[in-house]
Symmetry: C2
Subunit: 749 residues, 2 copies
């Protein structure tokens, strides 16, 4: 080991400003990236502030296509389309896109002098602005949820509760029925064109253009029957109420319907899905011919999913195509996708065989359905169309990147090589044969070209800071665009990070753990140790990428002399259905048992001081932290729980009831997992930290827990980030980690 002295040695220690997102030096210490890489048809382009360049897929050579200067020159010159107020110069090309592979056109949004938002099309062949139109704004609210359709050139967007479409000139079309415009609009009880069901079931948006741009499907959500959670903004002259519609577990939920707006007729029809009470309408998709819309419909109990086809013109329900049931829950998260080379077949995602896999359904081959059992042993399903599995095995598909139409291949990301990785494969639709694209190890984030013949492969692993390639999807050799080094490794002595597996509390399942030894590790010393935990569904804290996913704070604490451990226990992501759903109706119980296996590991290490074990986590991890402190009070000396769930009855309907059912149907489960019941057990030092207006784990969790502790005579600590939400970002995130560090230094060091 090289020992540096004096000034040089001081440089070896990094600070939170170096390693926390939001820190003043954070971006200087992240391996280089190329954020502006994208596809223009089959041409790779790289956008930066001043220029858009093409990148040769064989040589990597760059050629300038467009400059910011010429765009601004065109906007300053004579234009066919004139905004009411003068248009401001564009400041960066980074947000411009090139949607049409066959047209030399870039599109971007820009502001006029009066603050109005315009969509602008610039033709870099003609070197002129070829289209420009204004987006509506009202009462100081800006356009949001902007959804551009390259087929018809129109933009769908929302302002407050309203949904608009714009495609030319100064005036947008409002799609929802006009209401009296007033300042309370934003709080209005019915919203159009926005994401629904609290972004569960893979829902991230509220508008869905039809494949040829003829129609716009959109969500309408009536929240008038949902209780308000009274959030308070204290940054105004006098604190103001900012109520948030928050349907709590077991309480009345919102009602969602799906509308279809026809751009030609200007008329809207609603899908005739029946009474929307206690139902989820998820994963909207269109048939290629625009005649049909498909929804995956779910009952409130979330144990019965149906793939349903609607007539997009009349709104009539036409057929149920597939049904899936599970005694615990079914969780559809992906819309169906039609094969581009065969409009009669689409891909359906299911976990019925134990892992997320793809199934090809043939719309022309109806079957008489019978109830079958999935390979997971618990799912039952009914197929109304002939269905063949495209993938199978004890690994899972994570994404469909798109298609190589020429080769009739589906390009996917999956965990086939390791549950700690995403690798990219081409999947031959006919045979199911998969070909690896890119390196075997690490995490691959890819973007597929229009034809599907190339990907841009952004690759990182524990040993590779970052490499970016353009790779042919036939498995051949491509071109390297970037080979980055890790500034952290170059500038600092970093702690030793290792991963391994331990057995879960069930004695069978392998769990991955990540262990970080203190910097300047001395095997003869006794160090305090901190478990950083999440533990809930949909998350996985260990991957084969930079530092095995260890966050800057983990490294920082190791530098300060703490042993850092993370275990991805049962209930967490990317390990299949049973690994996740063993926690059903008793969230936290199995998860804690697995974390205690991590504690066993720590205690087996001669350099860990068993009397000084701490725990930290956020959100579900805050729930776990609090729960571990209360359930194993003699194990943990100190803990910091961020934005914790305390009682699942205060959590929202969609996520909460999936795992816990309702307080009415699972009273024992809710009681057993209600941390207020254990408030009297607190022995160690526990700090709870929340955002003052956390809209996800509402402040009520923490306040009622404090009340229970006070009544039980125990003493948690507390900190609040006023006006922050479920997570602290920017400068607040640095402050937060100073705060957390100080707490462990106070009580664990």
């Amino acid at each position: 080991m090289t020992i540096l002295t004096g000034t040089a040695q001081e440089q070896k220690a990094f600070t939170l400003e170096d390693v926390i997102p939001g820190g003043s030096n954070y971006f200087n210490l992240v391996p280089k990236n190329m954020p502006g890489l994208a596809w223009w048809g089959d041409v790779c382009i790289r956008t930066d502030v001043e220029e858009i360049k093409s990148v040769d897929t064989k040589s990597g050579e760059e050629t300038t296509l467009v400059t910011l200067e010429e765009v601004n020159k065109a906007m300053a010159g004579k234009m066919t389309y004139k905004p009411t107020a003068g248009i401001k110069p564009l400041r960066t090309l980074m947000d411009a896109s090139m949607p049409w592979g066959d047209r030399k056109t870039i599109v971007f949004f820009n502001k006029a002098e009066n603050g109005d938002d315009y969509m602008v099309w610039y033709d870099f062949g003609k070197k002129e602005i070829v289209n420009m139109f204004r987006l509506e704004a009202s009462q100081g609210k800006s356009p949001a949820n902007i959804d551009f359709c390259k087929e018809n050139g129109a933009v769908a967007y929302t302002v407050g509760r309203d949904l608009f479409v714009a495609d030319k000139g100064d005036f947008s079309r409002m799609i929802n029925p006009a209401t009296m415009g007033n300042a309370a609009d934003f709080e209005s009880d019915v919203v159009y064109g926005q994401s629904v069901h609290r972004n569960e079931f893979g829902i991230t948006k509220g508008t869905f253009w039809s494949p040829k741009g003829t129609c716009l499907a959109f969500y309408r959500m009536d929240q008038s029957m949902v209780t308000d959670y009274p959030q308070v903004n204290t940054s105004t002259r006098i604190a103001t109420l900012e109520p948030d519609k928050y349907p709590m577990a077991g309480m009345t939920s919102h009602k969602v319907t799906v509308g279809v707006y026809n751009m030609k007729t200007g008329k809207t029809v609603y899908l005739q899905a029946g009474d929307p009470t206690d139902r989820y309408f998820t994963n909207i998709s269109w048939s290629p011919d625009e005649k049909n819309i498909y929804l995956i419909e779910l009952n409130r109990n979330q144990n019965h999913a149906q793939l349903v086809r609607y007539n997009a013109i009349t709104g009539e329900k036409e057929a149920v195509l597939y049904e899936e049931e599970h005694p615990k829950y079914v969780e559809p998260q992906h819309p169906i996708t039609f094969l581009p080379w065969d409009d009669t077949k689409f891909i359906y995602w299911s976990q019925r065989d134990g892992y997320h896999h793809l199934y090809l359904m043939d719309t022309e081959k109806e079957t008489s359905p019978e109830t079958k059992k999935g390979k997971d042993g618990e799912t039952t399903f009914r197929e109304y169309l002939e269905t063949v599995p495209l993938t199978q095995g004890d690994w899972l598909v994570q994404e469909i990147l798109g298609f190589n139409t020429g080769e009739k291949e589906i390009i996917i990301g999956s965990t086939e090589i390791s549950p700690l990785q995403t690798n990219i494969f081409s999947l031959r639709a006919k045979t199911g044969k998969r070909t690896l694209i890119g390196r075997q190890d690490g995490m691959h984030s890819a973007r597929l070209s229009a034809s599907g013949k190339h990907i841009i492969d952004n690759f990182t692993s524990a040993n590779v800071a970052r490499e970016i390639y353009i790779l042919p999807t036939d498995g051949g050799k491509g071109v390297t665009l970037l080979t980055a080094t890790d500034p952290m490794k170059e500038r600092f002595d970093l702690p030793e990070i290792s991963i391994g597996t331990i057995k879960a509390a069930d004695g069978v399942t392998d769990l991955y753990y990540r262990l970080i030894k203190p910097t300047d590790f001395d095997p003869n010393k006794k160090y305090p140790a901190i478990i950083y935990v999440y533990g809930g569904p949909h998350a996985q804290l260990i991957h084969n990428n930079r530092f095995y996913d260890a966050r800057g704070w983990d490294l920082y604490m190791a530098q300060k002399g703490y042993v850092m451990l993370t275990v991805d226990g049962r209930g967490s992501d990317n390990r299949g259905l049973k690994f996740e759903n063993c926690t059903f109706r008793r969230l936290g119980e199995e998860e804690m048992k697995d974390q205690m296996k991590g504690v066993e590991l720590l205690k087996s290490l001669p350099f860990v001081d068993s009397a000084r074990i701490g725990v930290h986590g956020w959100s579900f991890g805050g729930f776990m932290t609090t729960n571990l402190m209360l359930t194993y009070p003699d194990t943990f000396k100190a803990g910091v729980a961020g934005g914790p769930v305390i009682d699942w009855k205060y959590y929202e309907v969609m996520y909460g009831e999936r795992y816990m059912d309702t307080p009415q149907t699972n009273p024992e489960g809710y009681k057993a997992t209600d941390l207020k019941q254990k408030a009297g057990n607190l022995k160690g030092r526990l700090e709870i930290i929340i955002g003052g207006t956390d809209p996800t784990c509402v402040p009520q969790h923490t306040y009622t827990f404090l009340r229970s502790c006070i009544d039980a005579g125990t003493h948690p600590d507390l900190f609040i980030y006023p006006e922050d939400g479920h997570n602290m970002i920017g400068r607040d995130r640095v402050h937060l980690h100073e705060h957390i560090t100080r707490y462990f230094d106070d009580h664990l060091k």
Copy 2:
């Protein structure tokens, strides 16, 4: 010193349960008292749960007058008056009163089986219930602000926003205009019959019976123009908004008017005081003949008070009787009082000569007013009636207990003997001659008999746990009813408590301090020290009573090995006008300088560790604590600030503007005293503790301060008592002091 060993020694240490109000053993360690002592005309009575006894004023001998048993027998028997539902047995006589000195009648409130409230009159001569009537309730709201008139036997009370009078049978009269009754009534914007102006200006109630019971004057407060502070109750299924009308400094305030309801005609007239915008109507009183009502009216700037007479029948304004102005503020806190032996003269309270003194004004002798200057050198006043001072001197009158009509004496409490004491005097109206009643030392809390010939004197001092006497007001010898010992002194080794004076930062003024040395004090040790501070107007922390006013927590911390210091600095109570108002427009600045004189004292003590000085205070004391931590960051190592003011612009209009003017007229003062501006100075450990729905120092103070600290990169700590208000009471108060103690043990010990 006696050293006990083993178990016995353990008994010597008291716990927070022993010394904090709300603690399980607190009441066992308070010196005995006789809470049920009162006057029935000139007969002293003592009420306990089971009996009311008379107490002979000469011998102290007790004779039973009424028993609970006979009252309940009468209520169970045949009654002239029958409630709709059965009346419940009375459980205690402690809340019964005997309003009429010439009638053998007790009155009390009691509940019927259905929860209705009844007023009950029991004649213990006839041994029967002689009157009973029901008080209104509505939508689960109980009668409040109950005001009984012994002259007419009626009860005024409020339910929600409404004002009622009841005097017989089942039905009450509603005095305010009827409104649509609904669940939102309580939040309604206009309230009747309740205290107004946020209980400033000595206002504690909203109903005022005329001397013969003919009329009821009442406050009406329109708050529709006042902003809501959005308080949130998190103890409900889903958190609920509980908005509170809170006029903040410089913002729009409520409008108050005074109505007069005539019991005979059932009509209400309102005093024609003109536009109530930005005006305070304080200190309502009646003329003995019921023809006039007097108000002390104050402008919003609070620097100009007028005593105004109104015609109680027509509501017309008749005359201004007295005016007082001060460049800082005038603060009327006492209504005028007519002499019982001379209806033409009344007593007015003023600080115009530098201290609260009494002035006798003659209604029959009008004068042509000229502007004069008070002896304080700053007050100007105009007398419209001939006025003679009744008291003068560099001490102040604290209360008028009543009158000895036979001797034409006023019975007062004052600080004449010491600013640390309240002593009782008879004051001869004609000559101003004062005669001390009771012992020279200590604090005296007295109740005067109907004729004014006797007081019940409840006496405590640093050396006397409690003594209760009946004393003749002629200064003669009375009878001792109680000589209590102090269980704390008997059972525990207590720390040494001493008082003394130091010079204020002005170099002139004497300030009182209280110093507590650690139990088992060793002069060769170095102890940490904590300053317990309030520092604001209207409060004084040191008196010549039990432990010199030291609270249980102070003793507890001394027992744990802390030196405890309190200094009543300039700005605090009972030292006169200039002592208080030197803080004008810059609250905290002079007050801190005086606390730093206390720090000097601590540093001069060889047994104090100057590196370990802490500070703690609540409310204004929380403001002082935070301010001291930020202004003298190298002096204070740790502080705990409870319910602090952070920025006076978040405080309410009445109290805040008196001392600070408005943010518009005193922007420099508001900025200079805004602790957010100093958030970056924090070096020591500062914990802020608030009640989650503090209606006095609203949570916005603390949240905005946290935000400023986060932005400035400093690290305060925080704790919140959900659903608690400005102070923690009961069990929460014990928990609070465990919490505060732990914080100092963590960071100062």
